[in-house]
Symmetry: D2
Subunit: 151 residues, 4 copies
């Protein structure tokens, strides 16, 4: 359940599709958004590679971070990252179809922990990300309605 003190912001986030900014620039798309949850995808092209032709750590981090940001902003109040860590488990490369699934794990006061798992087209986990989120007192809905997004 979303935070009882704030209206759910799931619809507000969905209305932001297609994604803009870095999310759009890297080709991410939303698969599903629910309370404390987001699943998004990104296909690895030449534009996502590192110096030596593998998937760039920054591409995977960006995908996980975006899934985390969507998931932690479903609960009404504008929420920002206060820390995160990533573990790369398998190499990735051009042609891989990645999915990042972010899920609320623990919440205590204004702080919450989200886990994000990135899997490839063979459903193999290629990276794990953990984010710590801090809830502000602003509403997500107002941010969206004020058209202050990317404008």
């Amino acid at each position: 359940m979303a935070d009882g003190n704030a209206p759910s912001s799931i619809e507000a986030l969905k209305s932001m599709e297609p994604l803009q900014g870095l999310d759009s620039h890297l080709g991410m798309a939303i698969i599903k958004i629910a309370d404390g949850y987001a699943r998004i995808k990104m296909d690895l092209t030449e534009a996502h590679l590192n110096l030596f032709g593998g998937g760039h750590g920054g591409s995977l981090f960006s995908l996980a971070d975006s899934a985390f940001a969507l998931a932690c902003n479903t609960r009404g109040y504008l929420t920002v990252a206060s820390g995160c860590s990533i573990d790369y488990i398998k190499p990735t490369g051009e042609g891989d179809s990645l999915v990042a699934e972010a899920q609320l794990i623990e919440t205590s006061g204004k702080t919450s922990i989200y886990d994000v798992k990135i899997t490839n087209q063979n459903d193999v986990t290629v990276a794990m990300f953990r984010g710590r989120a801090h809830q502000t007192s602003k509403l997500v809905m107002e941010q969206v309605n004020d058209k202050c997004l990317y404008m």
Copy 2:
């Protein structure tokens, strides 16, 4: 001094300009590469922003990670990240001109620690990144000469 057992790979890395892959896609450019050191830059445009119009964590992480990768591959042997952490210190936004400076801090056997500092156009630190690098037994120069980069 570069590792005495391997020829310096600084020239090999410099020959890779203009940068390709994610580095190119995000608009990064090399300012300076030296032994255990790299300084690169990236200007924040609409394509680097997050859901709420600020600099996306993934943009900053990617910049730091690329500076780290360049710095830790100056010493002859192909080197990969085995872990990293990032701390965001100040918000960033469209129009900011960021510089990431990566520097070797400690080295022990095949493991090294690099610190990366990202500053903005006012020379204010906006993020700090720490990377742990693991040296392989392959030469960077061969990777570059074999044209196996992005091909």
Copy 3:
């Protein structure tokens, strides 16, 4: 299932009770050890507190790290930490009875990811730890049989 190439080391680890070194000094005790799994406990006394009278971050980190070390050494080969992160979720204090449960989450080649959850006497999660483990080619059993532990 434990790694098929090595005999299970669960019995070897169990034979090390009562725990020694820091584990003993901080009052930890094993509850359960299984394949890729360990659950241990520690009660917080005055000796576990920080400067301001709360549970010291080092006490919680030590408990999580010990559970992680036990869990990742159940699979035959001697395994060492190559990185870890901790998130504190709720404050702790004198009198709290903590349990740390470590579990294998992902494994790829010689690298594995373990999650450790620390809960208090009310079954509330007070901290989460994630460890990255690197498997060596030495057997845990030999380490134990050689009496090289703390001697």
Copy 4:
């Protein structure tokens, strides 16, 4: 310079010697405390070892965390950790004399970054720790005068 809005709390911290709680239990002692700075020491005995007879990660983490806590509480306001990471660089063992030096690196609003370096008796760096500190609105001095420490 300490925060101009609060009296320095260096003397208050010094008055807490000898250290208590986990710091005392692990044998730590203060060498020097200054503005945004602390240097403390700890000798590794059998009580600091891990399962396999080396220095326990929790012993090193505790030492670094305590140096960090002292350094970030020199500036008047009670300050708590909001995140940290540690990199182990060289193995340690019984008989090593460790020194942890914590230093303020960056500060922005109520958030600060501290780096802690742990060196051994040969002045070799054995671990590096980075802590993110969050300043509260309480005074350190009151905490000390109220005798609420360990009581």
